[in-house]
């Protein structure tokens, strides 16, 4: 994995400053039903290749980020603020 990660707020920062949480999943509605919640909590695509995941810039701006990373080459691609990513999803 690259030693430097481009945080949208802090610029290029050492990767040790970040904590990786895991896959970006969309949370079902509270009343979405048993199957939807089982899928969300337990089941994973676990892709070999491009993976969108939540990172926390723990030792920097402390913002949640959405990072696109390749699970085979460990190459880090696009890195954006999680709130901005969410807004982009909501927009038509």
């Amino acid at each position: 994995m690259a030693s430097l990660i481009s945080c949208p707020h802090c610029g290029a920062r050492p990767k040790e400053e970040f904590t990786i949480k895991g896959a970006v999943l969309s949370r079902p509605a509270a009343d979405a039903g048993h199957q939807a919640w089982t899928d969300y909590v337990y089941l994973r695509d676990n892709p070999r290749g491009t993976h969108r995941e939540y990172w926390h810039h723990t030792s920097g701006c402390r913002r949640w980020l959405v990072v696109t990373r390749d699970t085979v080459s460990h190459e880090v691609g696009f890195c954006q603020d999680a709130a901005a990513a969410k807004l982009a999803e909501v927009r038509p």
Binding site: M1, I20, H34, V41, Y42, N46, R48, V72
Partner: protein, 416 residues
């Protein structure tokens, strides 16, 4: 050919020209009763017990690389059965009992060494937790001893007992735990299975699973189509991808776990010892190298290599436990891909397809489980019924809320 002292002597006298390959290199047949995907420890053990215990020898083991190229040759060789929960403990104890008779059983020297596994504790709370674990083990008929500081000091005088942050108060010892030469486990099972008629087909990657009317009919591979009566998946590390060929989505993430070996040293650590204040475990191989490891890197990976931050973290934990390690040079490090399940426990179960069976989710505890995993998976495949010690390892336990969460971490696989 049976290996014995006599066979070594006779072959030695005749220039060692009589040895044959330990297993054949057969062409795949058009159809098998059982096809096992994955020629690692678990797949080979499954084939071995299918042939030896359950009378099913028309079996193929398909391995995309070579036998022993995956996790069975990448772990830190530790065996133990010091589990707390009722769903886990009898299964791992079955595994320990199988380890104890394994070399005679499959006529191969796997260097099973019951040198003891010692888990250190550093606080009163941790001592209480280990007391509970030790009692749970003893209630299940497993050996466990709680050692105080003096007893640990006698075993391992070089530990940092008076570490300012994590002083060592004692440890939980399982004397029957220890190490096994991991490659020999793969070779022994491969040879044992092969000699009973199982075809071990290497460099044969499964690319698709063919289905008709809710049943699997065979697999497409890089060496052509192979039909099967039953299909068994034992492809830990890649379980999600293989299962996806049958439209099965698993409660698993693939993560990388690194391991290390140092330069050869004179005998100095005579057991397996683990740090209780961080994740670090070390033993000394018979060649003298210290074999050690720590946590998974903590992110999804299929790369079989990790990052330096984790190397540094492992080294720090090791030095906090054994200050002398600061003088030791590391020779090699490598990574293996773990099936991290959502509760830290494995899956040995049927699937929604009648004749598709799944063995997955071993997290980083798969090696010690190899014999029992093979035995229980073979039992399931042969009799369509879970072996009694593996009944809790259901695929639907997540949905039904019957998790086996040994560490109490919840559905966060990078924390198990």
């Amino acid at each position: 050919m049976r290996y014995s002292a006599l066979s070594i002597l006779l072959n030695g006298l005749t220039g060692n020209r009589g040895w044959r390959a330990a297993w054949r290199d057969p062409q795949p047949k058009a159809h098998y009763d059982v096809v096992i995907v994955g020629g690692g420890g678990h797949g080979l053990a499954t084939a071995y017990y299918l042939a030896r215990e359950f009378g099913i020898a028309n079996v193929a083991v398909l391995e995309k690389n070579y036998v022993g190229s995956g996790n069975v040759g990448r772990n830190t060789t530790i065996i133990r059965s010091n589990y707390l929960l009722p769903g886990n403990n009898p299964f791992y104890e079955l595994s320990m009992k199988l380890w104890e008779g394994l070399e005679r059983d499959f006529n191969f020297n796997a260097m099973v060494s019951q040198r003891g596994v010692l888990n250190l504790y550093h606080s009163d709370a941790q001592r209480d937790a280990y007391t509970r674990r030790g009692n749970a083990m003893r209630l299940h008929g497993v050996d466990a001893e709680l050692l105080d500081r003096a007893a640990v000091r006698e075993m391992l005088p070089f530990l940092d007992f008076d570490n300012a942050r994590f002083p060592i108060q004692g440890g939980l010892l399982q004397r029957r735990g220890g190490t096994v030469r991991h490659d020999a486990v793969a070779w022994g099972y491969a040879r044992g299975a092969d000699s009973r008629g199982v075809d071990i087909i290497q460099n044969c990657e499964v690319t698709a699973i063919r289905r008709e009317n809710g049943r699997v009919t065979g697999v497409e591979t890089t060496r052509g189509f192979i039909g099967c009566g039953k299909l068994a998946l034992a492809a830990a590390g890649n379980s999600s991808n293989v299962a996806a060929m049958a439209d099965l989505r698993l409660p698993i993430e693939s993560h990388v776990l690194q391991a290390f070996v140092s330069e050869g040293l004179k005998p100095f650590i005579n057991c397996v010892v683990t740090f209780g204040a961080g994740h670090f475990y070390v033993s000394q191989s018979d060649k003298g190298g210290l074999v050690f490891g720590g946590d998974i890197d903590g992110y999804n990976s299929y790369a079989q290599r990790g990052n330096l931050a984790t190397v540094e973290h492992v080294a720090e934990a090791g030095k906090a436990m054994i200050p002398a390690l600061s003088r030791v040079r590391v020779l090699r490090s490598w990574g293996g891909i773990m099936d991290m399940s959502m509760d830290g426990s494995p899956i040995i179960d049927h699937t929604y397809l009648d004749n598709l069976y799944l063995n997955a989710g071993w997290c980083y505890g798969g090696f010690k489980a190899t014999p029992a995993s093979g035995y229980c998976f073979a039992h399931l495949i042969a009799r369509d019924q879970a072996q009694e010690t593996a009944r809790a390892f259901r695929l639907d336990r997540f949905e039904r809320g019957f998790l086996i969460d040994e560490k109490g971490m919840g559905a966060q696989p990078n924390l198990h």
